[in-house]
């Protein structure tokens, strides 16, 4: 992919023979593409880490014991109530205030003082708070009959969560999770404020050298729109696959497994 972009930009360079503004576009296109790749990394890594962190947070949040729900409550409130920019600055600039953190050795030089990891930490913390809140709502929205059915089968509490409640809740939050990832994509533009060369940072770098602010900003906007479209498409596919049972009524009857065909389905199929 990157080979292709570089070849394309080389071709454009020779084709235009230094004619502006195409020359500048060709020159900076590979850097913008590197930026797109960094942005994607930020979104995907923090999306996954945030998701993993969100599950225990949500489970603690729905607990009835005050000892358990107070921490996630404060956590969610803090990260949802303050701007992402403040959170990024707190991690990137704020941590250096403490002598003990600066003396952590490897952890400090390789991770906590690097803008890339700081951005990922801040985004993961932020998005996990939002996803935990989604999960909490979804766990409470799992139909009561399914939980009762599991109880009557004698399935242990742990297995109930593992095999019934959490997978079901995941299906419920999937559309909202897609929205959250897209919000994360837009939030990731803030990583450019801590000198990271994501799509936004690469764009600002190109503008600082060429003074063509409008063109490059619009180009970046177009790339962000494309990324959004790709993510929307991905989540739509994921939803069709994971929540396939909800779409059974949209299929034509002869595609449905004959064993599943009953009077109810035949009456309700569109």
């Amino acid at each position: 992919m990157s080979e292709l972009i570089i070849q394309f930009s080389q071709w454009l360079l020779t084709f235009t023979q230094g004619a502006e503004p195409w020359d500048s576009y060709a020159r900076y296109l590979p850097r913008l593409m590197d930026g797109v790749w960094v942005t994607l990394q930020l979104v995907i890594v923090s999306g996954i880490v945030g998701f993993i962190m969100a599950i225990p947070l949500a489970l603690m949040r729905i607990s009835k014991s005050a000892w358990l729900w107070v921490f996630p409550y404060c956590y969610i409130f803090f990260f949802r109530g303050t701007p992402l920019l403040v959170q990024i600055f707190l991690v990137y600039y704020g941590l250096s205030q403490f002598e003990s953190i600066r003396n952590l050795g490897w952890l400090w030089t390789e991770v906590l003082s690097q803008p890339y990891w700081c951005a990922i930490i801040a985004f993961s913390l932020n998005t996990s708070a939002y996803i935990a809140e989604l999960f909490r709502g979804a766990i409470q929205a799992v139909p009561k009959g399914e939980v009762e059915a599991a109880q009557s089968l004698g399935i242990s509490r742990r297995k109930q969560y593992q095999h019934i409640i959490l997978p079901r809740a995941f299906g419920i939050i999937l559309p909202a999770y897609g929205n959250e990832v897209i919000l994360m994509l837009k939030g990731s533009a803030l990583a450019s404020t801590i000198t990271l060369l994501d799509l936004m940072g690469a764009t600002r770098g190109a503008i600082a050298r060429t003074y063509m602010s409008l063109e490059f900003f619009l180009l970046a906007g177009l790339l962000y729109l494309l990324l959004t479209a790709v993510l929307i498409g991905f989540f739509r596919l994921l939803e069709n696959w994971y929540n396939a049972h909800q779409h059974a009524l949209n299929m034509s009857l002869d595609k449905v497994d004959p064993q599943l065909r009953d009077k109810h389905l035949e009456d309700n199929v569109r």
Partner: protein, 219 residues
């Protein structure tokens, strides 16, 4: 430090109120356009919401701030400086308007059709129907959605510090650079935003209760 932040407390509100005003107007116009019988208007409104909701707010702020001067430079061939305040308010209003359009559109669709038809039967014209029949009901349905948008906007006001405006974030940045205590000052800024969020949530709850007065007895 306490005095410093006491002064800073008001600065997000400086932004918030004009943006809310223009954003709500844009949102109402957008929703009206989306539901209008004229295809061109519908098309414009859909493009507007799709484009704006698909790009980061930061990018929009930068496009408005740097892009407008460049357009003016090309049109009139002279450099006209745009005040960062105007650029910030414009950009945030445009972003807020796009989200508000969707909220208002779904709220408008939720108002029973009979209301509009009976207004027509009473001989009200379109404008009167909108201001006297639809608007008061629209408000009630839209408030929960708008409330969320107000809170999002409160946090988005932090973005204008990127174009060098003297807002709460900027002051925290300056103070952190001066005292070499970044964590303290950014945390203080975070707590000011939290405090404002709590105040806003109370205001929204109050508005919601107020808008639902006619329904309170029934439930």
């Amino acid at each position: 430090m306490v005095i410093y932040f006491w002064l800073a407390l008001g600065s997000p509100l400086n932004w918030h109120l004009p943006v809310c005003f223009f954003g709500l107007i844009l949102g109402l116009l957008g929703a009206a356009a989306k539901l209008s019988p004229i295809r061109a208007l519908r098309w414009i409104a859909t493009t507007y919401t799709t484009l704006i909701r698909g790009i980061p707010e930061l990018l929009l702020v930068l496009i408005i701030y740097f892009g407008t001067t460049e357009i003016l430079l090309r049109l009139f061939d002279q450099y006209i400086e745009i005040s960062a305040f105007a650029a910030g308010v414009t950009a945030l209003s445009i972003a807020f308007g796009a989200y508000a359009t969707e909220v208002f559109r779904s709220a408008l669709q939720e108002i029973p059709k009979g209301q509009r038809e009976s207004a027509m039967a009473m001989g009200l014209n379109r404008w009167q129907t909108f201001t006297r029949i639809l608007m008061p009901q629209l408000w009630r349905i839209a408030i929960p959605g708008l409330g969320n948008l107000f809170l999002v906007l409160l946090k988005d006001t932090a973005l204008v510090s990127v174009i060098g405006l003297d807002d709460l974030m900027r002051q925290a940045y300056v103070a952190a650079g001066f005292t070499k205590l970044p964590f303290t000052f950014y945390l203080a800024a975070a707590f000011i935003y939290l405090l404002l969020t709590i105040i806003f949530m109370q205001v929204i709850r109050f508005l919601e209760i107020r808008a639902n007065r006619p329904w309170q007895g029934a439930r």
